[in-house]
Amino acid sequence: MNAAKTAKTLMWICLVVISALSLFPFYIMIVMGTHYNEDLFKGIPIAPGGYLADNLKTVMSADFMGVYLNSLIVSVVSVVLATLTSTLIGYALAKFEFRGRKALQTFVVLTMMVPTQVGLIGYIIEMRNLGVGNTLWPVILVWAAFPFGAFFMVQFIRDSIPNDLLECARIDGCSEPGIFVRIVLPIMKPGLATLATLVFLWSWNNYLLPLVTINKSEWYTLPIFISNLGIVHRTDYAARMLALSLTTVPVLILFVLGSKTFMKGLTAGAVKG
């Protein structure tokens, strides 16, 4: 009994220490946003400073809310697009036998291996020809064909949805779209949540694509905006830290609230029963 108690205590100590170590940078980020930039260099600030209002002014003077909205639009629409196409592809490849299925699957894996940077210029030209250059669309549409998402969904659906279940539904007379919406989608919720989280994070933090496709400050997304804060001969790290806090903390809270579903997604399919 004692041994079990000791083990438990040790585990808790480990958890607390690891949590503190991981959360400390976050705390420092938040605190740094409340100091005067040059004071940051005098040592790591532990206590909050009194320069929050001025830093906030620097951040807000550059249309932070507009940029925040841009990022939200990009991330939300990207999530919807990416999960929709990935799920459909995943379902088709995992559960239907048709000609060229294997080739298609190989194609998905192959496209995963091509780095985004390689196709960048071609992609910009494509967007320009579509007439959507210099808007938010190029940053969103890139998620419409998301090979990792398709691959992830193929694996997920193959493992978590029994063929028998689909057969039963067919025997009961459910239409194919009906099966997808009523049977497949509810079972896939954890997988969808995981994919949505990943796409949200990746599009939220995307730097290169908005950098090269957006040439109007009013369409900038958060990473570009933050990298442009205080860049004349002196980098205003304090204002950037504040902007980073404002950028990450709300999203973090959102994910903490939704962590239950997220965790299910991480562990689902890991154990076959």
Partner: protein
């Protein structure tokens, strides 16, 4: 049951940490991308007399119309300058997109390669100016419709705004002749004088500089050294060697850096240099602490180095020219895209903001930037003679006058090359090692420098 609960909680905590890590990592990246050293650029500048050019623009400014797109990192400058510009040119709209200098070239190249949006007015910061010139995307300003006359700008600036063919393809955002900012309190304490004229004599040559450095080190018990680090010392040493070292694809690195490296290692071995790297937090903080006597400084330095890093240092600083002459620090060239559809309007803006007397006066008074245009220094001699915006940090020393009278006359220009940024990058990667490992000799350093440059510029021959 408890076990199960604990397991669940552990999994919960771990996944949270994972998520935090993901967010933190991304945040970090942004920050890094964001900006490191805005440093070496120089602020904007001014004007040159209506005399220099401004063809159609000068005919009747109100008749000129169009939209000019500018990519700049200094939004405050553009906002102020555009308002001034529009008083004279009410029908020209200037749109600014804020672009980080670290990302500028990549963004520009993607835009050009894909045929999408490219600004009419393009800025080339010293870190990538040579590469930009080599792209061949800037228009020759000596041709129509600009008809820019290079004799209207200070002679030493011409190589900084010319391409390999000798065509002038840009104007200077501001001139960047540099000297040393020094701590008056330390100079007075250890050398008995804080007068720039006296100091000039004390550090007239680099030999004098090293001798005074040893004296300073001994007198202060090693607490005060001459310069913060090898990076600071190399700026004037390399900068004073104005000889061209690139010929086509041949880089004569030995001619360019052997002598500076020898001097640099002499200083390092004499123990008169600190161990700081440029632009690090410790380097910035050292200005207020009084650990070092000198900092290389161009006209943009009083605002962005001194007043920013030593806000309580009013009267604590002085400006003196470096031993054996001037050098440049930073500098940004401003050019016009060769396929711009608004060349006349773009030129009207460039001419007004960086060359015209009105623009230069506004720029000097507001930002302390000094134009390359000669006429400004005649027309607005009163402005130069009057106290500048940051002179109070320098005990009332007239900085603009000192730069113009003591440093500029020695200045020569240095032709720009696409390999400049490669060489600078290699040096920046190597000097921290030379700071730490004092067993590396100047000769070994040169060989390493050449080898690394060869790796980075594989299309060139390096000697």
């Amino acid at each position: 049951m408890t076990h199960l609960l604990t397991k669940k909680r552990t999994a919960g905590a771990l996944s949270l940490l994972l998520l935090s890590g993901a967010l933190a990592a991304c945040g970090g990246n942004n920050n890094e991308n964001g900006g490191a050293s805005p440093s070496a650029s120089s602020p904007a500048a001014s004007s040159a007399g209506a005399s220099s050019s401004a063809p159609a623009a000068s005919a009747d400014p109100t008749q000129l119309s169009g939209t000019v797109k500018v990519w700049d990192w200094d939004e405050a400058f553009q906002k102020g300058m555009i308002a001034e510009f529009n008083k004279k040119y009410p029908n020209v709209k200037v749109e600014v997109t804020v672009v980080n200098p670290n990302d500028y070239l990549q963004k520009l190249q993607s835009g050009i390669a894909s045929g999408s949006d490219v600004p009419d007015v393009i800025l080339g910061e010293s870190a990538y100016r040579g590469k930009l010139f080599d792209l061949g995307v800037l228009d020759n300003l000596e041709g129509a419709p600009y008809n820019f006359d290079k004799s209207t700008v200070l002679d030493f600036t011409v190589p900084y705004i010319s391409n390999g063919k000798g065509e002038v393809i840009a104007v200077d955002q501001a001139i960047t002749p540099a000297g040393f900012a020094y701590r008056r309190d330390l100079a007075k304490q250890y050398w008995g004088t804080d007068d720039p004229t006296e100091l000039e004599k004390l550090i007239f040559t680099w030999d004098d500089f090293i001798a005074k450095g040893k004296e300073l080190k001994d007198k202060s018990g090693g607490k005060v050294l001459m310069l913060p680090g090898l990076g600071d010392a190399f700026i004037p040493l390399k900068g004073q060697n104005f000889a061209p070292y690139v010929n086509g694809a041949e880089i004569d690195l030995t001619a360019k850096v052997k002598e500076p490296l020898d001097r640099l290692f002499e200083m390092r071995d004499a123990g008169i240099l600190g161990k700081n790297e440029l632009w690090t937090p410790a380097w910035s903080a050292s200005m207020a602490k009084g650990e070092f006597m000198f900092y290389p400084m161009a006209p943009w330095g009083p605002k962005w180095h001194i007043s920013a890093n030593d806000p309580d240092g009013k009267g604590r600083w002085g400006l003196v020219k470096a031993p054996e002459g001037g050098f440049t620090r930073g500098g940004t060239a401003v050019g016009i895209y060769k396929d711009s559809k608004n060349k006349e309007a773009a030129w009207a803006f460039v001419q007004y903001a960086y060359l015209s007397d009105e623009g230069a006066a506004y720029n000097f008074k507001t930002f302390g930037n000094m134009t390359g245009s000669k006429s400004f220094y005649v027309t607005h001699k009163d402005l130069i003679d009057a106290p500048g915006p940051y002179d109070e940090f320098f005990g009332g020393q007239n900085l603009a006058k000192y730069f113009m009278e003591k440093i500029v006359p020695d200045m020569k220009g240095e032709p720009q090359s696409k390999y400049d940024s490669v060489v600078d990058g290699v040096f920046n990667a190597l000097y921290p090692l030379w700071t730490k490992d004092t067993s590396v000799t100047a000769d070994a350093a040169l060989q390493k420098f050449i080898a690394e440059t060869k790796n980075k510029a594989s299309d060139a021959t390096v000697k």
